[in-house]
C-alpha cells in the first residue's frame, strides 16, 4: 500500500528496512562495546591501576567466574524479588484499573493515592517499610510500589481509548458489562497494558535493588544489590563490577523478554508490531 521507502524505525520495532541495515544495527553497538572494553583494559594495564581502584575487564570477568557460587545465589534472590514485585504490579495494576473503570467513585477516591505513592521516591519509603514489614515482604512491596503505577495508568488510558462507534455497536446489540469488558475494552486496551507491563519489568528490578540496598542486612538470602554494598565496604571492587554486570544483564533480559511477548501478542493486528510496508 505504501510506496514510500520505509524510514529507519526505532529500536525494538519489528521491521527493519533491509538485511544489511539489520546487520549494521547489531554490528555497530557490538563494535562500540568491544572498543570500550579494549580501551578500558589498555588504560588499566598501561597505567598499572590497582584492582581496588579500577579493575580491568579481564579481572571483572575472572571474578564473575570465581565468585559465581555467591553471585548466582544473589542473582537468584534478586530475580525472585523482581519477579514477585513484577507479578504483583502487573496483576495489581490491571485489576485496580479495571475496578476504577467500573466505578468512578472508587477511581476518584483512590487514584490520588496511587499518584502519591508513585511520586514519593521509593528509596525514602523503603526504610519505613523495612521497619513494619518482614524483610522479604518489604523488598517485594518496594518493587511493587515503583512498578504498579505505569501498569495502572496505561491500562486506564487503554480502557478509556475504546472506539466510540464500536462501543455504540456493543450497546446496540445489548452487550452486558462483562461482555463489553471482555470483548471490547480489554482487547482494545491490550497494547497499552503491554506497554505498561514493559515499563513495569524494568522498574520492578529497580525497586528490588533499592529495597535491598536500604535493607542492607547480611544473610544467605541477600541479593545482588546487597552484594554490591557489601563488596564496597570490603573494597572488593572487582566483585562490585561483576554484580553490577549481572544486574544490568538481568535488566536487559527482562526488557527483551517483555518486548518479545508484546510483539508476539500484537503481531497479527497492532500497528506497533507491523512492518511499515504491510
Amino acid at each position: 500500500m505504501n510506496a514510500l521507502p520505509s524510514p529507519p524505525v526505532a529500536a525494538g520495532q519489528a521491521n527493519v528496512g533491509s538485511r544489511p541495515l539489520l546487520l549494521l544495527r547489531i554490528l555497530l553497538p557490538v563494535m562500540v562495546l568491544a572498543a570500550g572494553i579494549a580501551a578500558w583494559e589498555l588504560v588499566v594495564r598501561l597505567n598499572d591501576i590497582k584492582p581496588y581502584v579500577l579493575p580491568a575487564p579481564s579481572v571483572v570477568f575472572q571474578t564473575l567466574v570465581s565468585d559465581w557460587p555467591v553471585l548466582s545465589r544473589s542473582l537468584l534472590t534478586t530475580l525472585l524479588t523482581t519477579l514477585e514485585g513484577f507479578l504483583a504490579a502487573a496483576f495489581g495494576g490491571i485489576a485496580l484499573a479495571l475496578l476504577f473503570n467500573q466505578s468512578k467513585w472508587l477511581e476518584y477516591s483512590l487514584f490520588p493515592y496511587a499518584v502519591i505513592l508513585q511520586v514519593t521516591p521509593v528509596i525514602a519509603i523503603a526504610p519505613l517499610l523495612l521497619i513494619y514489614l518482614p524483610q522479604q515482604v518489604a523488598v517485594v512491596a518496594c518493587a511493587w510500589i515503583v512498578a504498579f503505577f505505569p501498569v495502572l495508568s496505561n491500562t486506564t488510558l487503554g480502557l478509556n481509548s475504546v472506539d466510540r462507534n464500536l462501543a455504540g455497536l456493543f450497546q446496540l446489540y445489548g452487550a452486558s458489562r462483562m461482555q463489553t469488558l471482555r470483548y471490547l475494552k480489554l482487547p482494545a486496551a491490550l497494547p497499552y497494558i503491554l506497554g505498561g507491563v514493559r515499563i513495569a519489568g524494568g522498574l520492578s528490578l529497580i525497586g528490588a535493588v533499592v529495597a535491598e540496598i536500604a535493607a542492607g542486612s547480611a544473610g544467605a538470602g541477600s541479593g545482588l544489590a546487597y552484594r554490591i554494598a557489601e563488596s564496597g565496604y570490603r573494597l572488593n571492587i572487582p566483585r562490585m563490577f561483576a554484580a553490577l554486570l549481572l544486574l544490568s544483564a538481568a535488566g536487559i533480559v527482562i526488557y527483551a523478554a517483555l518486548a518479545l511477548t508484546s510483539h508476539l501478542v500484537l503481531r497479527r493486528w497492532h500497528e506497533s508490531a507491523l512492518g511499515k510496508d504491510n
Binding site: L169, F170, L172, Y173, G174, Y183, L184, W269
Partner: protein, 270 residues
C-alpha cells in the same frame, strides 16, 4: 455512555410500518438543538435516504432509531418481530467508518452480534459464512481488517449488520469515505442485496446522486435543527443498474433533489 433508549413506551408503529417517528426532537446537553421536531414513517421493506448537509441531524435521527441515544421529546417507534427479545436485535447498523475490531479476524468481527446474544456456535458459524457470502467476502474470513481495502472493510461491516438477519438496516454515510468506483460497485451490491432480502433500509448520505440511485424515497433535510425539507419518490423501474445512472430520468431526479437541497446550504459558509 447513555443507556439504551427504551423503545417499548413509544408504542409500536402502525401496521406495515417499520419505523415511525412522531414529533421527535433532540437537544444535546450543551444546548444545541440538533433535530426536529421530526415526523417520519418508513414502510416495511422500503429503501429511504436521508439527505442533507453536514450537521443537519440525519445521523442523530439514525442513532435515535437505533436506540443509541434517547430523544429529548417525541416518540420513536420501531417494529419488532414477534418473539424478539433484547434491545435492537431487529436492527443492523452500518457506521460511516467500518468500525471493525482490529484484533479480530473478519469471521470474528462478523460473528460479534451473535456472540453478544449467546447464539449457539454451530448456528452462528453457518450464519457468519452466509453473511460473508452475501457481501462476496467468503474467501477472506480469516483475514484481519488491516489486510483489507476500504471497500472490503465496509463489506465486512455490512456483513456484520446482516448476520442477525435484522428487519431494519440503518446506514450512516457508509460509503462516504470510499473512492467513487468502489462506491458505485457497493451501491450496486447493496441494491442487489436489498432486492433479494427486502429489508427496510434507512440510508443517510450527503450525496444527491447516491440517494437518487439507491432509494425509493429521498428525504431532504434542512439544517439546525434538522427537519424534513422535501420528499421525493423515485419511481424508477427495477432492477436499477448502470443504465439508470446515465439515464435522463436519473438526471431529472438529481436536478429536482439538488434544487430542494439548495436552500439548506445557501447562506451557509461552506
Amino acid at each position: 455512555m447513555a443507556e439504551p433508549a427504551a423503545l417499548s413506551d413509544a408504542g409500536a408503529p402502525g401496521a406495515g410500518l417499520a419505523v415511525s417517528l412522531r414529533g421527535v426532537t433532540k437537544v444535546y446537553d450543551n444546548g444545541v438543538a440538533a433535530l426536529g421536531p421530526l415526523d417520519l414513517d418508513v414502510r416495511k421493506g422500503e429503501f429511504v435516504s436521508l439527505l442533507g448537509p453536514s450537521g443537519c441531524g440525519k445521523s442523530t435521527a439514525l442513532r435515535l432509531i437505533a436506540g443509541l441515544s434517547a430523544p429529548t421529546a417525541g416518540s420513536v417507534g420501531v417494529s419488532r418481530p414477534a418473539g424478539a427479545q433484547g434491545a435492537g436485535h431487529s436492527i443492523g447498523f452500518v457506521f460511516q467508518e467500518p468500525t471493525l475490531m482490529p484484533w479480530a479476524s473478519v469471521r470474528e468481527n462478523v460473528r460479534l452480534p451473535l456472540k453478544l446474544s449467546d447464539a449457539p456456535a454451530a448456528q452462528a458459524a453457518v450464519r457468519v459464512s452466509a453473511a460473508l457470502t452475501q457481501v462476496g467476502l467468503a474467501d477472506f474470513a480469516d483475514a484481519y481488517p488491516r489486510e483489507l481495502s476500504g471497500g472490503m472493510k465496509m463489506r465486512v461491516s455490512l456483513a456484520r449488520a446482516l448476520v442477525t438477519d435484522p428487519d431494519i438496516l440503518l446506514m450512516d454515510e457508509p460509503f462516504a469515505a470510499l473512492d467513487e468506483i468502489t462506491r458505485f460497485r457497493l451501491n450496486n451490491d447493496l441494491l442487489a442485496l436489498w432486492r433479494s432480502l427486502r429489508k427496510t433500509i434507512i440510508f443517510v448520505t450527503h450525496s444527491v446522486f447516491e440517494s437518487v440511485y439507491l432509494s425509493q424515497r429521498v428525504i431532504v433535510m434542512s439544517a439546525r435543527p434538522g427537519r424534513i425539507g422535501a420528499e421525493f419518490h423515485i419511481d424508477a423501474p427495477e432492477p436499477r443498474a448502470e443504465e439508470f445512472r446515465t439515464s435522463a430520468a436519473y438526471a431529472g431526479y438529481c436536478r429536482q433533489v439538488s434544487g430542494a437541497l439548495a436552500p439548506s446550504y445557501q447562506g451557509q459558509s461552506a
